[in-house]
């Protein structure tokens, strides 16, 4: 359950420095280091990243009283500022979630590769000896 808050923090801090796809990076790291079910891991990462984006978007929007989002939303045929905030949440969330999925699969691949390597390296017991 620590995953979502961590994602939230990482996305918030990293977002100020790194490009927009940054949520994929903490997502990947989380997926790789912490074993979890694929779907649950995806959802937790997505939730954390998404929240970070939504909170920052709402902060800028509120400061501006929705003036700009009210002008931008119709450009994208969205019903209003809410639609843009939702869209931002989806972009941030999916980026984080896809990162975590990749991380999780990589973890499994890495583990199986590790197992296979161990298998190859270990001396094969001779059955006939028994």
């Amino acid at each position: 359950m620590i995953r979502a808050p961590l994602m939230f923090l990482m996305c918030l801090l990293g977002g100020m420095v790194f490009p927009w796809w940054w949520p994929a990076v903490p997502g990947l790291i989380a997926g790789f280091w912490k074993p979890a079910r694929l779907v649950r891991g995806f959802l937790a990462s997505a939730l954390g990243a998404s929240l970070a984006w939504v909170v920052v978007a709402i902060w800028y929007d509120a400061r501006n009283q929705g003036l700009l989002s009210g002008r931008i939303a119709p450009l994208f045929h969205l019903p209003g500022p809410g639609g843009l905030i939702f869209a931002a949440g989806v972009v941030g969330g999916v980026s984080g979630g896809l990162g975590s999925l990749f991380g999780a699969w990589f973890r499994r691949f890495w583990a199986s590769l590790h197992d296979a390597l161990v298998e190859v390296a270990a001396p094969v017991p001779d059955e006939e000896d028994e």
Binding site: G15, M16, P19, W20, W21, W22, A24, W53, V56, A57, W59, Y60, D61, R63, N64, Q65, L67, L68, S69, R71, I72, A73, P74, L75, L84, A87, A88, V91, G92, V94, S95, L98, G99, L101, F102, W105, F106, R108, F109, S112, L113, D115, A116
Partner: protein, 882 residues
């Protein structure tokens, strides 16, 4: 091992999925911006959402490399920066910096447009646009002008300092802080250069000096015949009241002073006729001999009896429902005894606005006014003791000539008996997301040949295989005028400085504490009457509009241009009409604006005996239509007093009410009135019915006969053959058309109002459906990219295309200003926009509502920082950085 392979494939698949997601959202799709970047609250559009609320009392200090000394930029409550600098370099550095801070994207896109570099950022759909700018010679002309600008020490300092200031702002930007439109179009701002400033002048010339339509006018002569042409297309507007009539024109009147008198040529008696002028402008041997093809063009009066009777009428033109005004009133006509100047240049309205308001103060220089983002100095404004304003001069400085090419290779052309070589320029247009387009430009000694055989024309007036003579292609240094105007003290200073204004030609209005003046200014080719009105063709030396005789040989000397200083009548004004009367020795063109605005202006000015700023402002807001005042009574007399033709009584009553509504109308286009809608529809329908058959059903293929001519026919000869519909057996009269047009207009008016409840309804339900003017014809101010949500639409305002307050569609007064000199200058002004170009700011369109309502802002003219502490909004201190 098998399992590992399986997992590898799955991992790779998810990596691919992630990669695809990032790639898809990191690039543009059609007109969609890269969604990842754009929607990110860390770097996307959210970052352009400016905090709402006042900036009062705040301050900021920035250190800028390249700045020599400290400049104080004091922003007032409307966001106008008042710059105080110790030297000119710092002043223009700061002007560049604060302008870029508010308007960077606009500067970038406009300079790109002028250079033909839009496809670089917007893709293949803009290649034609770019090709047109380039083939018309804009980049080449800008480079040539820049050379001239840099040779002038003041312009050089200003352009270079301004450039440094803009770039100081650009280099401090990060992708997250780029203006919104850079994010929408997904590109990065490019560093500013003096060349870009020069290009902006070319843009101005592009917009303001190409209003002629030689091609479609020639089409009239070719397909409708010389009889039709000479009858309905007079070269001079009937009823025109020139800017410089005899009583103020220096050739006749001797009230003028100043340097020009001395250098005026000897052969300038007022009575010298056109014929002599022709002789002077032509070299012997190629004089037009005998009756010439377009002889009728030269006649200033119309031959038709009906038209002759009508000398006081109108000359509107299709798609020309707007125009600028300026006027000056002498101290003898004002309440305070100090002169008043008023100006409202009418242009296509856009957001961000064309204008940026600012005050520039450094040592003795102290000027307030509007600047063009991208150019140092002030274009229209005032100083401690002077004020100046501009309207477009409308002289014909844009002519097509057809050189005779040797063969299809277009390598050589015949000119006066010898073969000349065509200069070819290979040009590469960079295209975003596509291969570069390699284009060849052809240049003759006359000018470029923008359209080749078999190519589609760029517009209605770009004939193939014609060379363009255009003064905008001549190197010039207009910014020098905008810079020097700030320190002009007297009329004779102005006379010298305004000579830098070459293209577009301008009517420069000017006042000091004592004097008033108006100068017609610009680079205007010397022409015979009618020369350049039609496409030049053929090489015969004797043909009236042959290519050889259409070549420009010289320009009218600056000392010969009309001007007036302190005329006895105490006022001067211009509204894009003819500059001079027939006695002026040079032909200036036939493309001046219709006379109704200038007629109205003159009548209002004559009556200004006790003028104040507010009475001058009201003249700019005048919504009286002289077209309506002339035409409506003529149309109404064709309606029966009581409609007995309508079979059902309800309809008869409606018609009667509508006619009564029109009869009671005061000819004012008030936003809340219904009558203007009825008249507008009626006149348009009547006009269409008169001419559509003669123009073979195609209004777009020809220049249409003017409203002045139509009106003159209506007034003089209601049986003129123009009124007969040539497609019917019967012979129609003006009355027949007027009645049918009235019925059509009523139908249209009701249709336009259908479903809209009308608060101005006056009892009768059916007539009540006629919408009010402000709703029927609302104004809009579109965003530069045409993105509807970033523009403003549905503005209800008084005024019409033919009114002094000329506005229609998205054209209108782009900057209204009135100034009265005195111990301290007093000035009001407004433009339809806001100081910032950022759609994420409440200041983006802050002035629009007040502008539409006709309100004015008092312009704050400061002598030192914090002079009026209550007016201070925000202080930006720009400091040099070593």
């Amino acid at each position: 091992m098998n399992k590992s392979l399986q997992l590898f494939v799955l991992t790779a698949l998810h990596l691919a999925l992630l990669w695809l997601w990032v790639a898809a959202l990191d690039s543009r799709h059609g007109t969609l911006p890269p969604l990842g970047k754009f929607l990110s609250p860390f770097e996307g559009f959210w970052r352009n959402a400016e905090p709402d609320g006042p900036e009062r009392g705040k301050g900021e200090e920035v250190e800028l490399p390249g700045l020599n000394s400290t400049v104080v930029a004091e922003y007032d409550h409307r966001g106008v920066p008042h710059l105080f600098a110790p030297d000119l370099h710092s002043l223009f550095f700061a002007q560049g910096y604060v302008t870029a801070r508010d308007r960077l994207w606009q500067m970038d896109i406009q300079s790109r447009a002028g250079m033909g570099r839009l496809s670089e950022i917007m893709g293949p759909s803009l290649v034609r646009f770019d090709q047109e700018r380039r083939r018309m010679g804009m980049p080449e002309a800008a480079a040539a002008s820049l050379e001239r600008m840099l040779a002038d020490s003041l312009t050089r300092v200003a352009l270079e300092a301004y450039t440094e200031g803009v770039n100081a702002w650009i280099t401090n930007l990060k992708p997250a802080t780029y203006p919104l439109e850079f994010k929408l179009l997904d590109y990065a701002p490019e560093l500013w250069t003096p060349l870009k400033s020069a290009v902006l002048i070319k843009n101005l010339q592009w917009t303001l000096s190409q209003s002629v339509d030689d091609t479609r006018l020639s089409h009239v002569l070719d397909s409708l015949g010389s009889g039709f042409f000479s009858r309905y297309y007079p070269a001079r507007h009937p009823g025109a009241e020139p800017v410089f009539p005899q009583e103020v024109y220096p050739g006749v009147d001797s009230t003028h002073v100043g340097s020009r008198e001395a250098d005026r040529g000897a052969g300038r008696e007022a009575g010298r006729g056109i014929a002599q002028a022709n002789a002077l402008s032509e070299t012997p041997g190629i004089l037009p001999s005998g009756p010439v093809a377009g002889a009728a063009l030269q006649s200033p009066s119309i031959t038709s009896t009906g038209l002759k009777a009508w000398s006081d009428s109108l000359w509107p033109r299709p798609n020309r429902a707007s125009g600028s005004n300026n006027f000056v009133l002498a101290g003898t006509r004002t309440r305070t005894g100090y002169p008043i100047l008023a100006n409202d240049p009418h242009l296509d309205l856009t957001l961000p606005s064309l204008w940026y308001e600012t005050q520039l103060k450094s040592g003795p220089v102290n000027a307030y006014g509007v600047s063009l983002p991208g150019l140092p100095g002030i274009v229209i404004g005032f100083t401690e003791s002077t004020a100046w304003g501009l309207t477009n001069g409308m002289d014909d400085v844009y002519d097509w000539v057809a050189p005779q090419f040797r063969n299809d290779s277009l390598n050589q052309y015949l000119w006066r008996g010898r073969w000349r070589t065509v200069r070819r320029v290979i040009d590469t247009i960079l295209v975003r997301g596509s291969e570069p387009v390699v284009d060849t430009q052809l240049w003759t000694h006359l000018g470029p040949v923008p359209v080749l055989r078999g190519e589609a024309p760029f517009g209605p007036n770009t004939p193939p295989l014609h060379a363009l003579q255009w003064t905008a292609l001549h190197p010039s240094n207009e910014p020098a005028a905008f810079l020097r105007m700030m320190s002009v003290k007297s009329v004779s200073d102005l006379a010298r400085m305004s000579r830098f204004l070459e293209t577009p030609t301008q009517n420069v209005a000017f006042v000091t504490r004592r004097d008033i003046a108006l100068f017609h200014q610009g680079r205007i080719p010397e022409k015979r009457a009618g020369q350049g009105r039609l496409l030049a063709r053929g090489t015969s030396a004797s043909t009236y509009n042959s290519s050889y005789s259409s070549e420009w040989r010289a320009y009218i000397p600056a000392s010969e241009l009309p001007f007036a200083i302190n005329p006895a009548r105490g006022w001067l004004g211009s509204a894009n009409q003819e500059a001079t009367n027939e006695k002026y020795p040079w032909y200036l063109g036939s493309d001046f604006y219709p006379p109704e605005r200038s007629q109205r202006l003159n009548r209002l000015l004559v009556n200004e005996q006790d003028a104040t700023l507010s009475s001058a402002w009201n003249i700019l807001l005048d919504d009286y239509s002289r077209l309506a005042a002339r035409a409506l009574p003529l149309l109404l007399r064709h309606l029966p007093a009581h409609d007995s033709t309508a079979t059902d009584t309800a309809r008869a009553a409606t018609n009667q009410h509508s006619a009564d509504l029109l009869r009671a109308w005061d000819y004012r286009y008030a936003a809340g009135a219904q009558a203007p809608v009825l008249f507008d529809l009626w006149w348009a329908e009547f006009y269409r019915m008169v001419w559509i058959d003669d123009l073979r059903g195609d209004f777009d293929a020809y220049v249409r006969p003017s409203r002045a001519v139509t009106l003159a026919l209506l007034a003089g000869d209601t049986l003129d053959e123009a009124f007969d519909d040539i497609r019917t057996q019967t012979v129609e009269s003006a009355g027949d058309l007027a009645r049918t047009a009235f019925a059509h207009a009523l139908q249209k008016a009701r249709r336009a109002g259908a479903g809209k409840p009308n608060p101005f309804s006056w009892g009768n339900a059916e007539v009540g459906e006629i919408p009010v003017w402000g709703r029927y014809r609302p104004l809009s101010i579109p965003h530069v990219l045409g993105l509807a949500p970033l523009g403003v639409s549905g503005l209800s305002a008084d005024g019409c295309g033919e009114c002094l307050n000329a506005q229609r569609g998205s054209h209108g007064p782009s900057w209204r200003m009135v100034v009265q000199t005195g111990k301290r200058p007093e000035a009001w002004g407004i433009y339809p926009g806001g100081q910032t170009g950022n759609p994420g700011s409440s200041r983006y369109d802050a002035f629009v509502k007040d502008w539409a309502a006709g309100r004015a802002y008092r312009l704050l003219f400061l002598n030192w920082p914090l002079e009026v502490p209550d007016s201070t909004g925000y202080i930006l201190a720009l400091k040099g950085k070593r």
